[in-house]
């Protein structure tokens, strides 16, 4: 081993020298595997010195764990992806908005009921368009307890408990029909913010789109979160009506700006398409004005307005009418250039960074200046709905020329900001103090969001950055016309940013992610005592103990109380009559780590995952007589194949 290390040290020295144009030196004497030297391996695989350092910075030997965890949106998959950093190993897909077979999510009673909670207009949604996960925060810092996610297409928000990485709640309001500024949490997770995207008549009413200015509205919902219960409380939640400007991203103020929330907007033109009706398509109609409006919303004050009852009930949600928001001094605008995208509050809470998208700058707004302008009532008039507009030049500290298509910004511990530059396919590192670009690094390709370690909190670590690229084009082997997306890991700890690793993500549009220090997560590995319902984290009323297994016939059907332990189900023969309703209650009574069983009855579209100590209920009608094998679907032991039985449906 010693010679290898020598070789690596040699590399290190060369790096310090930097900028060497010389071909890779061939340190001799190193040996890896079957006696081939490091330099031979490098030559054979066509690797540069940078490639080798990238490998050394990311390679994580068996048994070693990652320093950070990424919680990445699973995009169209409607699930959440957990990825280790720096190894970029995928650790888990957490089922959220869509059925997921491994976790038996949507194939048993508890999770079926959960997915049903997320129905829209009585219709169960089996896909989601997940955009922005938000880890729960305490004083503006990730606390590792919960994560919230949104579904843009169906205006849903879900709560995932990080005690066991399981979704426990889905909420949705018919107030809005789509959303994008979601999910973002206030600094102590009092509220989870869900801001609508495409304006529509509030509450699901019908009005023709030609009445856009008068009948269509935006809105932002403030979902109240009860940390002790781990649940959103819809009855204590409320919303604010907004003009139909296509509110885009949101962020909550923190520290000095705590109590405020910021939403940007992309369509103050109020264009609504109609390219076959003699009107411009939305893409050009919404891009006419040089400025749109950054929305400044005082949610702390709004909370008092809600308590005072100055709300209107729309589709079961208490809504602060736009006029009330104006009258009570809750809502102000400040211009922002031009069809902007990201709005990100700096770690100290003093400034708000807006990415220009169609403008080459990021604009840095001063919260202090904004407050002074509001105090002095220094407005440049109002918009068409009467919302006061603050003068742009007096509200900003300055702008930083970033490049073509600046979108989202995150931060490090040293006062630097990192902005994704979509059109140029680059990440720009810039100084918050000087508003000057320090360095740009190419990424591949069409970067959307980016994230740095804890990069949107009050104390960002920086260290690593992940570029979430929409297109991969030529980065991977061809797999047909539908290509994976490309997460690129970039090292921020070195003076120059270094691209370390490409992780293909084989699903559509995983928009945003957050990266948390792994030691902040304290997940359980076994449900204790056995019989726990993963949705409530309490003992299920139907939990079964060893020795209590039984089959009971009741008015509502046949109840089968079953246990699972390596390598048998008890009972392993179940006899029912054609047409009977069957209630299976299965407890995995194992208490050993990773001793998970799965359970299926063939041809019934049933599958549950039974982690050690977990209890699941399954209800179905045995409508087709026959003989159906039931078996354990997880390879649990040497006698796994024998962990099986018969489900017999006797004809009438």
């Amino acid at each position: 081993m010693k010679p290898v290390w020598k070789a690596l040290l040699l590399f290190g020295t060369m790096f310090a020298a930097g900028c060497s144009d010389a071909p890779a030196a061939s340190p001799s004497g190193g040996s890896i595997g079957g006696g081939s030297s490091l330099s031979t391996l490098m030559q054979a695989r066509g690797l540069s010195e940078d490639d080798v350092t990238a490998a050394l910075k990311t390679y994580t030997p068996t048994g070693k764990k990652d320093e950070y965890l990424i919680f990445a949106s699973g995009g169209h998959g409607g699930n959440l992806i957990v990825i280790g950093v720096p190894s970029m190993r995928i650790l888990k897909y957490i089922a959220v908005f869509t059925p997921e077979p491994w976790q038996g999510y949507g194939y048993g009673d508890q999770t079926n009921a959960l997915l049903k909670e997320g129905s829209r207009n009585g219709k169960e949604m089996t896909w989601g368009d997940m955009h922005h996960p938000a880890l729960s925060e305490t004083k503006g810092d990730y606390d590792g307890q919960f994560i919230f996610v949104n579904d843009k297409a169906n205006a849903r928000v879900a709560v995932v408990n990080l005690k066991d990485f399981v979704t426990t709640q889905i909420v949705t309001s018919p107030l809005i029909q789509s959303e994008h500024g979601s999910t973002f949490v206030t600094p102590d997770t009092d509220y989870v913010i869900e801001t609508a995207q495409y304006p529509a008549p509030l509450g699901g009413r019908y009005a023709d789109v030609s009445k856009f200015d008068d009948e269509y509205r935006g809105a932002s919902i403030f979902w109240k979160f009860d940390r002790t219960k781990g649940r959103i409380v819809p009855e204590e939640s409320w919303a604010v009506e907004l003009p139909p400007y296509m509110q885009d991203l949101s962020d909550a103020g923190k520290l000095s700006s705590d109590g405020w929330a910021f939403f940007n907007s992309i369509n103050t033109e109020r264009s609504y398409g109609g390219n076959m009706e003699g009107k411009p398509s939305l893409e050009s109609g919404a891009s006419q004005n040089d400025m749109d409006y950054l929305h400044l919303f005082n949610w702390k004050k709004a909370e008092a307005v809600v308590k005072a009852g100055k709300t209107k009930n729309i589709a079961g949600m208490r809504v602060i009418p736009l006029q009330t928001a104006i009258d009570e001094g809750l809502l102000y605008f400040v211009p922002e250039p031009k069809s902007p995208h990201g709005v990100d509050v700096t770690p100290d809470g003093k400034e708000i960074v807006v990415g220009g998208k169609l403008d080459t700058h990021v604009t840095v707004y001063s919260f202090e200046k904004i407050m002074a302008l509001i105090d002095q009532k220094k407005f440049d008039g109002t918009d068409a709905y009467g919302v006061p507009i603050l003068p742009f030049q007096d509200a900003i500290r300055g702008q930083c020329e970033i490049g073509l298509g600046p979108l989202h910004t995150q931060f490090d511990a040293d006062g630097n900001a990192y902005t994704s530059v979509f059109i140029e396919s680059k990440v720009a590192k810039w100084s918050l103090k000087d508003l000057k670009v320090i360095e740009k690094i190419p990424v591949h390709y069409n970067i959307g969001h980016l994230l740095t370690a804890e990069g949107d909190t009050v104390s960002p670590d920086g260290k690593y950055l992940v570029a979430m690229n929409k297109w991969a084009i030529d980065r991977f082997n061809d797999v047909g016309p539908l290509l994976p997306q490309n997460f690129q890991l970039i090292d921020l700890a070195t003076p120059k940013m270094q691209l370390l690793y490409d992780l293909p993500i084989p699903l559509g549009e995983p928009h945003y992610s957050q990266m948390i220090k792994a030691d902040k997560i304290h997940a359980i590995d076994i449900y204790k005592p056995a019989g726990i319902n993963a949705l409530t984290h309490e003992k299920d009323p139907f939990a079964v103990e060893s020795g209590q297994e039984r089959i009971e016939r009741k008015a509502d059907g046949v109840h089968v109380y079953m246990t699972a332990i390596r390598s048998h189900f008890t009972p392993d023969i179940v006899r029912v009559k054609e047409g009977e309703t069957v209630h299976l209650h299965i407890t995995n009574i194992e208490q050993a780590k990773d001793a998970t069983h799965g359970f299926t009855v063939g041809s019934h579209n049933i599958h549950v995952s039974l982690e050690p100590g977990k209890h699941s209920n399954i209800t179905f009608v045995a409508d087709k007589p026959g003989v159906y094998p039931m078996y354990c679907t997880e390879f649990c032991s040497a006698l796994h194949l024998e962990m099986a039985g018969y489900f017999l449906v006797e004809p009438k």
Partner: protein, 147 residues
């Protein structure tokens, strides 16, 4: 808008020069416009000569990516052109050809319309930023479509 973008392009060159020693970035340079030019000074010196392989790739790219809007003969009349306002450029028009510089064409091919003050509907082609020969061949092909 135009001025800020020109300013950006100018500003970009020193910044990029200072990062130029990164060997890792070299194979897929993807630098700004200035970096692309700097990466291939020898070839840029000869604006009409082009590598046959690059020419072949450029023609394939033209027929795949450009023709849906700009049309197979570059008439601005591709099958997807109708929905655009402003309309896709007509490369056949002598007036359009004389109104744009070679640099403008190479910029818009790589960075899209927003980069040169034109419609943002013209997308960027980020993978071509590391292929100056192909960009040059595309520009020459576009020039050859003048009628």
């Amino acid at each position: 808008m135009k001025n800020t973008i020109l300013g950006l392009m100018l500003m970009a060159s020193p910044a990029l020069a200072s990062t130029a020693c990164s060997k890792a970035a070299a194979p897929d340079a993807g630098g700004g416009p200035a970096a692309v030019a700097a990466a291939a000074p020898a070839k840029a010196a000869s604006p009409t000569a082009v590598d046959p392989a690059a020419e072949k790739e450029a023609k394939e790219i033209f027929s795949n990516r450009c023709t849906p809007c700009h049309g197979p003969q570059g008439g601005g009349d591709g099958p997807a052109s109708a929905g655009f306002d402003p309309h896709p450029a007509n490369f056949n028009a002598a007036q359009w050809q004389s109104s744009v510089t070679d640099e403008h064409i190479e910029q818009i091919v790589q960075y899209g319309g927003a980069a040169v003050g034109k419609s943002a509907a013209m997308p960027a082609n980020p993978d071509l930023m590391s292929k100056p020969d192909v960009v040059k061949a595309l520009r020459m092909h576009i020039r050859s479509l003048k009628k």
